[in-house]
Amino acid sequence: MKRLIDWADHRTGFRGIMHEALFERIPGGARWRYVWGSTLVFTFVLQMMTGVFLWMAYSPSTRTAWESVYYIQNEMQYGNVVRGIHHYAAQAMIVLMAFHLMQVVIDGAYKAPREINFWIGLILMQIILGLSLTGYLLPWDQKGYYATQVATKIVGVFPLIGPQLQTLIQGGTEYGHHTLTRFFAMHAGVLPGTLILFLVLHIAAFRKHGITTPDPNRGPESKFWPDQILKDAVVCLAVLAVVMTLAIWVGAELNAPADPAEPFFSARPEWYFLFLFRFLKFHAVEQFGLAFGAIYVPGILMLILFLMPLIARIKGGHFFNLGFLSVVMAGAGALTVIAMVEDKNDPDFTHHLVMAERDAHRVQVLASGPTKIPIEGAVSLLRNDPLTQGPRTFSKACASCHRYNEHNGLGFPVMDFQDEKLFPAVETAADLGTFGSREWMIAVLTDYQNHFAPLKNLKNENGEPVGERFLNGDMASFSSDNREALLAPENKGSLAALVEFVVAQSGREFTPPIDADLVKAGRAIFETGTLKEGVIADCKSCHSLHARGEETALSEDGYGPNLTGYASAEWLKSFISNPGAEEHYGDNNLMPAYAEKLTEKELDLLVRWMVGDYYRSEEAHAAEAVKE
């Protein structure tokens, strides 16, 4: 064995290299404050390792990037852990880099003869920031997409060559496949390669001058191996523990797939760039133009940082440097806190965050469904999903009059703006949250005036109330006249039967499912008005109806709304397109026709959402059944 090692050493000289690497002397003994450089090397190795593993599953294109990251995160074993480590170790690196820089400045390790090494360190810092920035885009989710847009736009305001530089970085004037291929090549090839090169120089130059000891007589001298390595390893283990904990218990975020047509109002850069983001929002900064705040100011701060070793030659220079670094760090910290507190207290931002989380969750439910992801990419899953698009259309087109369970469809209150103030808007039409359900039908039959009460607020151009035609109409009279009979305890079954018959016309799926016997009993009541106890006005005299599944029409020529297919997707489409049609409200109608106002697709997704025709995971199905 010894002969083999001797032979290998003779041919390669590896003992010398090992000796050089391990037995660096540390005057004054190993100390905890020297660990930061080693932890940075460790996290970089961690990133190289997890990065290569992720590389083996990542696919950089606008239709596969999000999809492959989704697959890594949710389908591949330990994928969430590997991606989580990569995600959080990147952030740990930023924190450790700040510690390393502060320790170097405080201990004066940047001064002569170590100026060049300090500069190499600052170059490494730029490379690491570049890695963070390029990596943020790669999942191609809404957050990364919109945050990176800001960064590339900043490049675009660079003096002289800005627009050309931006086009080169993006691989085109707009984001596309080549933005990802370029960012990925930078992130996994160019930047790590350059980083390794400068890291070798950094460590070589560091070894040349040795460690800077603030207190060389503190204790007996020790060596890098094993004394300092032990301390380094302990801290590396702590870093790894924090990173793994975050990776496993919090997990790396994956927002909805990037969609240039779908705004992402909660776009923020990663937390360590928040200070710059907030800085750019100051009016005092904004008025000098984007280039001032985004390029010149950070450029000048970086320049001072670069000049530190030279400043230190002047008397009192070291204290200036210490002060400068403290002020920059404190300022960045304060701006970060301000940005976070402002966002937290901003109701709009909170709303947008809720929306973003909803979309992110929804697209993953769809992607994990039996139809998986189509070739058009996961972005089409959300674009074609009634549960995602329906509420958006509702909030845009319907919520000015209607509500959906008292909100705008998306879960937020409807507001009006008058006299420079926001206040809750007045609803002027029925709340459609329960439309077409048994509950809805019971309310229409027995509590019409209350159910449609918001119509009281509806006025025509002259300010005259117009809802009376419904609130004092025939259906309202039916409801108040027969309310007592329908709600009598002995007629409980009769009411349930009539309701069952009418809601069954929609052909929707109900929980609990439609009871065929009840439907049959209800049909008779619809026709004759004969309840278990007593007789009420029948329905067929006013309402035409061709009952679902029957050969011939049950009633024709009714002057009221035609109830054929009532509350089904087809009925809703027809109604929303033209509510004033003969078979709907006719001349009584107060609602605008939407045939020209909505695209066919918007209408289709809106009604499919309203009738509950969208994909639910099996767990969601089970949960709904339990709730009912």
Binding site: A57, I85, N217, W225, I229
Partner: protein, 203 residues
Amino acid sequence: MSHTIDSLPETKTDETPMNETPMHETHSSAAETRRDFTTQLLAGLLGALVMFIPLVTGILFLLDPLTRKRKGATDDGFLKVTTLDALPADGTPVRMQVIKDLTDAWNFFPRQPVGGVYLRKIGDQVLAFNQTCPHLGCAIDYHQAMQAFYCPCHASKFSLDGEKQNVVPPRDLDSLVAEVRNENEVWIRFQNFRGGCPEKVVL
């Protein structure tokens, strides 16, 4: 840095003295050696641990394909590929594409060509062979002049009944179960098999 390297871990001399630290003499006592050994052991163990944990996680991640049953091109379902009428009556092989829904990692592709088969009509029966050569996975060709299946990559040769005719392929052509349904429809059970081995192992 130009040092004359020797193999002893002694204090090296640096050409630029970085400070005026007096060199501490190393006192070698039994206690110190023991302490030094403990430190070395601990440092080695912890150092290995911090590298080992992420490496093993990554390797487990990499082994993911071993844990999933492929549900792509092959399963047990029969697929309709053509009709009896479309096959020549004299038993000449015809190559047909196999079309079916394909699941590939995160994607779902409806009705994709996933492979090819050679079909021969013999009376009212159909012989079906997977077009993939059992040798190393090239696609075999129907060679009219030889009246044989022939692989242009490595010269595997099979009779029209699928029997291997030289030493190149490890086994006969992979025959597939074929059925005639509704008098005219040709259905096959499309499967792919592992290449390069004498046994016919379904993938």
